[in-house]
């Protein structure tokens, strides 16, 4: 097994890209949580409906959704179908 040794500092460019793709994939849900936490700052509905965020809020929530779907698709399509998992695990092992 080609387990990553601690001394393995430099990677082939393609492998390096794969690792950064994985980093991005790990980061994506965090981005989603942050973007979808933004509605928490919106003003709550008042007695008259004027202060409400209205359809703009709807568009925002669904816009974030589209963004996440597109990003996830872009990331996974660039990932190698069979990533060299043993090497990738080096970082996340206990």
């Amino acid at each position: 097994m080609s387990r990553a040794t601690p001394s393995q500092v430099f990677l082939h460019r393609a492998n390096y890209r794969q690792r950064r793709l994985r980093d991005a994939a790990k980061l994506l849900p965090v981005v989603g949580i942050l973007l979808w936490a933004i509605p928490l700052t919106w003003p709550a509905a008042s007695e008259n409906h004027q202060a409400n965020i209205g359809s703009a809020g709807l568009l925002y929530v669904f816009g974030v959704w589209v963004l996440l779907i597109v990003l996830a698709a872009a990331l996974t399509s660039r990932m190698r179908p069979n990533p060299e998992t043993p090497q990738g695990e080096g970082a996340e092992k206990e």
Binding site: L28, A44, A45, A72, T85
Partner: protein, 898 residues
């Protein structure tokens, strides 16, 4: 308007189509054409059972009541799917490696294959799942009622109940037919998955069709739609932040913990790579499912009379607009949502109930000796699974009846989620934290279950159903900090958020605390390491220490569970791998491990472990064994190092042997060549001797002739003698039997004698010498050395092809020794032949001319080596040149004794 009977017919036709789809998919899978059945698209669509009838119909109602909040139910799963790298990838890998059959199996297997944990998780799942099944029955019956109402018939409670019974029975039949066809939960249910995929498409199409109709058909376009949304009475953002965050968390956790989701996400997953596609395709599905929810809600509120049930807008808006076909499609979508969810949920729950409650109990009831008694227990397991399916649906129906099917039930969806989510800490802790223990998991699960029951589930039946109003307001026995919806005095929270917060906090807290203070059993530690380090490809330490069972007993037991042909295949495969013939392999620890995993795929890890344990006397692994294993590993490492060393050595020996062999072969060839050469050399003079002696015997010839013939015979005899002398000489030299006679003499004198003896003084060969160089004393066997010199000089006389042959004898001294070079002015010896001339019988030119047998130089070399000197051809001189290295005086090699 369509008739109600037409709707029944459509529904029945749709169900028949589903049966056919499932049946065909099973057939194709059996025939081995399961490629596209296992495609990522089917996987993604099968995940859609997350969208139940509650979300299909209920989301619109939810949006009509609470605005954007409905979307949290979809946002959670989207985040989980998008973040698949964190949890899902790990779960799927563990599921495959450990042959996990359900979420109860995962928890039980992780914490030392514990039966008790399996039972706890199963109980939680059943309690939390039953109301949800009831909810589906309700939604289907409600949707029927809508169409009945269109015909002017207002349904009574009895009508609802009758319909619910029929729906439940139909679902039970479908699930039993396609869900318990094969026993191994790891052999995926192609029929069911395929039917679910079709239903997923139908419900998406239905909802999108209604949405498109609403946006373009009713509102007149997206821009107008947005205006109407803004003008609507719905408050899109009307809530406190606690619910937004809490519900996103709840739906994300439920997506992982719901037994039915675990079934399609992990158990039915055929290929880890399907997650790649599903990671964006399933969020896309959810996006489309929720895109038109708000528009439908807004239009429904606008069009329909006040007081209409917004939960049914998906049906009633098309009906109100006279779109009967669209309403039927929408009805089918709702039916699909309900049925697909109920089928998978029932199947997953039934597997859990059967594997973790019925079979262990049955095993215990049968007594410890039963495991090896012959007889198929598969029918017992299958029967228990089928009965479980029926029982769970019956439970759902009962719940539906007792709760009255009213609005109380509608609120149960999220409460049910909260119940299922109690498994989350144990599951996540189990796959990420090696320190998590079974005791901790059990403490957390029970704590969570109790808090959920107290603060959410029991109050959901309404006041005075289980908990009296007095208790709700003042707490039990007047303990106000135990009020169900204001635990520990926190009373301002939304009841649901309150329940989620406290149950999860205390659940996780007890889990961590229990894990920190308890010590895990050895099997737990092994399993923990395997789960947490599932990506390390490390070999598992054996969980058994002694393989006391006979292979035959194991085979009998395996046959009872897996079926005889499958079990025999496993055993035969193992026997073959061990290099044995037949069905019975050696019972090694590895084999027991493997067998246990195979059985676990059928009856769950805990039961499989218990059954194997019965057979091999319960000699499960202990801490001492683990340490011994570690020691053993170190020893094995050392041993393998030694082995490697040894094998290197052996390789060296083998190489030496190969070389020796090559040398021997070459020698053998040489010997053969020598023999044939020598017989030839002996035969030639013998032939002349015989012929001439024959002529002499016949007589009748002159004396002169007689004399000539006798002379020839004599010459040949002399030649023969010389050849034999040479051969003898060579043999003696080669065998090292020669006796050397040490003498001291002058080199110059020795050369003089040699020149005289070699008949070179007749003037045919001019010999040039530099006498001062030669004038030194020499200690060696001078006779032998002289023999070498004579040979070299006569060679020069015989073979030098110059017109006036000359031989230069040079003597030189250097630090390394003394050399005598014999250099003639002929053409020398071609480079190719230089290596050959010291071999026996290596005459380069015609032998008769030379009158020798080609042994001279071979003898010279032997002599020189015996004397401790050497003779070599001197390449690069003006002609044929030989260099004799004189032996050093001090160490002549005397080899008499060898």
């Amino acid at each position: 308007m369509m008739s109600f009977n037409f709707l029944i017919a459509v529904a029945l036709g749709y169900v028949i189509v589903l049966f056919a789809v499932a049946f065909l998919a099973e057939r194709r899978a059996i025939a081995g054409h399961s490629n596209w059945l296992q495609s990522p698209i089917i996987y993604t669509l099968s995940l859609s059972i997350y969208c139940t009838a509650w979300t299909f119909y209920g989301a619109v109602g939810y949006a009509a009541r609470s605005g954007l909040e409905f979307v949290t139910i979809y946002i959670g799963p989207t985040l989980v799917m998008v973040g698949w790298w964190w949890v899902l990838r790990r779960l799927v890998r563990i599921g495959r490696a450990q042959r996990i059959t359900s979420i109860a199996d995962l928890v039980s297997s992780r914490f030392g294959k514990s039966t008790q944990l399996g039972i706890i998780v199963t109980l939680i799942s059943v309690i939390a799942g039953t109301p949800y099944i009831a909810l589906q029955l309700q939604s289907v019956t409600l949707s029927f009622a809508v169409f009945a109402q269109v015909e002017g018939v207002i349904w009574e409670q009895a009508d609802f109940n009758r319909t619910a019974v029929w729906v439940a029975i139909g679902l039970a039949v479908f699930t039993v037919l396609f869900g318990t066809r094969n026993l191994d939960a790891n052999e995926r249910h192609h029929g069911i998955v395929m039917a679910i995929a079709v239903e997923a498409v139908v419900k998406l199409l239905a909802l999108v069709a209604v949405g498109v109709f609403v946006v373009w058909g009713v509102a007149g376009g997206p821009a107008e739609m947005l205006d109407r949304i803004d003008a609507s009475e719905i408050d899109l953002w009307d809530q406190n932040s606690g619910r937004w965050i809490g519900l996103i968390f709840l739906s994300a956790a439920a997506f992982l913990c719901l037994p039915r989701m675990f079934q399609v996400l992990v158990v039915e997953n055929a290929d880890e790579r399907h997650l790649h596609i599903a990671s964006w395709a399933f969020p896309l599905y959810l996006f489309l499912m929720s895109l038109f929810v708000v528009p439908i809600a807004v239009i429904g509120l606008d069009l329909l009379p006040a007081g209409s049930n917004p939960d049914l807008f998906v049906l009633t808006v098309p009906l109100n607009q006279g779109q009967g076909g669209l309403a039927v499609l929408s009805f089918l979508g709702g039916l699909s949502s309900a049925t697909s969810m109920v089928i998978v949920a029932t199947l997953a729950l039934a597997t859990m109930v059967s594997n973790h409650m019925v079979v262990p109990l049955w095993l215990r009831f049968q007594g410890s000796q039963q495991a090896i008694i012959s007889g198929d227990v598969r029918h017992v397991i299958l029967l228990s699974r089928r009965v479980s399916i029926a029982a769970i649906l019956a439970l759902g129906f009962l719940y539906y009846r007792t709760s009255g099917g009213g609005t109380a039930l509608a609120a149960i969806g999220l409460i049910s989620f909260t119940g299922a989510v109690q498994i989350l800490p144990a599951m996540i802790g189990g796959i990420f934290w090696r320190g998590a223990t079974g005791v901790g998991a059990a403490m957390g699960l029970i704590t969570g279950l109790l808090i959920w029951l107290w603060s959410l589930f029991l109050p959901s039946f309404g006041t005075d159903a289980f908990i009296s109003e007095a208790v709700m307001l003042n707490g039990p026995w007047g303990l106000s900090w135990l009020r169900p919806q204001a635990l520990f005095g926190i009373s301002d929270l939304d009841p649901l958020v309150h329940g989620i917060l406290w149950s999860m906090l205390l659940n996780a807290g007890m889990f961590v605390l229990g894990s920190l203070v308890t010590f895990p059993a050895p099997l737990e530690r092994l399993q923990g390491a395997q789960f947490v380090n599932v990506f390390d490809h490390s070999n598992a330490a054996p969980t058994w220490t002694a393989a006391a069972a006979g292979a035959e007993d194991l085979l009998i037991m395996a046959q009872r569970i897996m079926g005889s042909s499958e079990a025999q295949a496993v055993f035969e495969q193992e026997a073959k791998a061990q290099g044995k013939v037949g069905y019975l392999p050696e019972v090694t620890l590895e084999f027991i491990e493997r067998l246990e995993r195979e059985l676990a795929g059928t009856v769950g890890a805990a039961t499989a472990h218990a059954m194997i344990g019965q057979l091999i006397g319960g000699s499960s692994v202990s801490v001492e064994d683990l340490i011994a294993v570690a020691d053993e590993a170190a020893q094995i490492l050392e041993y393998s190092n030694r082995l490697e060393e040894k094998s290197n050595e052996q390789e060296r020996t083998a190489r030496a042997l190969r070389e020796a062999n090559a040398k021997l072969t070459a020698l053998s060839i040489q010997k053969d060549a020598f023999l044939s050469q020598i017989s030839h050399e002996l035969r030639t003079p013998m032939t002349s001797i015989r012929s001439f002696s024959d002529i002499l015997r016949e007589g009748g010839m002159t004396t002169k002739e007689q004399g000539r013939y006798a002379g020839i015979i004599h010459d040949e005899a002399v030649r023969l003698t010389r050849l034999l002398d040479d051969l003898l000489d060579l043999a003696v030299l080669e065998n090292g039997q020669v006796v050397l006679h040490e003498q001291t003499g002058n080199l110059s004198d020795l050369l003089d004698r040699a020149v005289r003896a070699s008949d070179a003084h007749d003037g045919a060969l001019t010999i040039m010498r530099h006498r001062p160089d030669e004038d030194f004393a020499l200690t060696a066997d001078l006779d032998r050395l002289g023999q070498v010199f004579i040979n070299l000089i006569s060679n020069a006389r015989k073979y030098c092809d110059a017109d006036t042959p000359e031989l230069t004898i040079k003597v030189r001294s250097s630090a390394t020794g003394r050399f005598v070079d014999f250099i003639d002015n002929g053409s020398g010896i071609a480079p190719d032949n230089q290596a050959l001339i010291f071999e026996k019988f290596s005459r380069l030119t015609d032998g008769s001319k030379a009158g020798g047998a080609g042994l001279g130089l071979a003898i010279c070399r032997e002599v020189m080596q015996r004397l401790g000197g050497d003779i070599a051809y001197l390449a690069g001189a003006t002609g044929g040149a030989f260099r004799v290295t004189l032996p050093l005086a001090k160490n002549p090699i005397a080899l008499e004794e060898t």
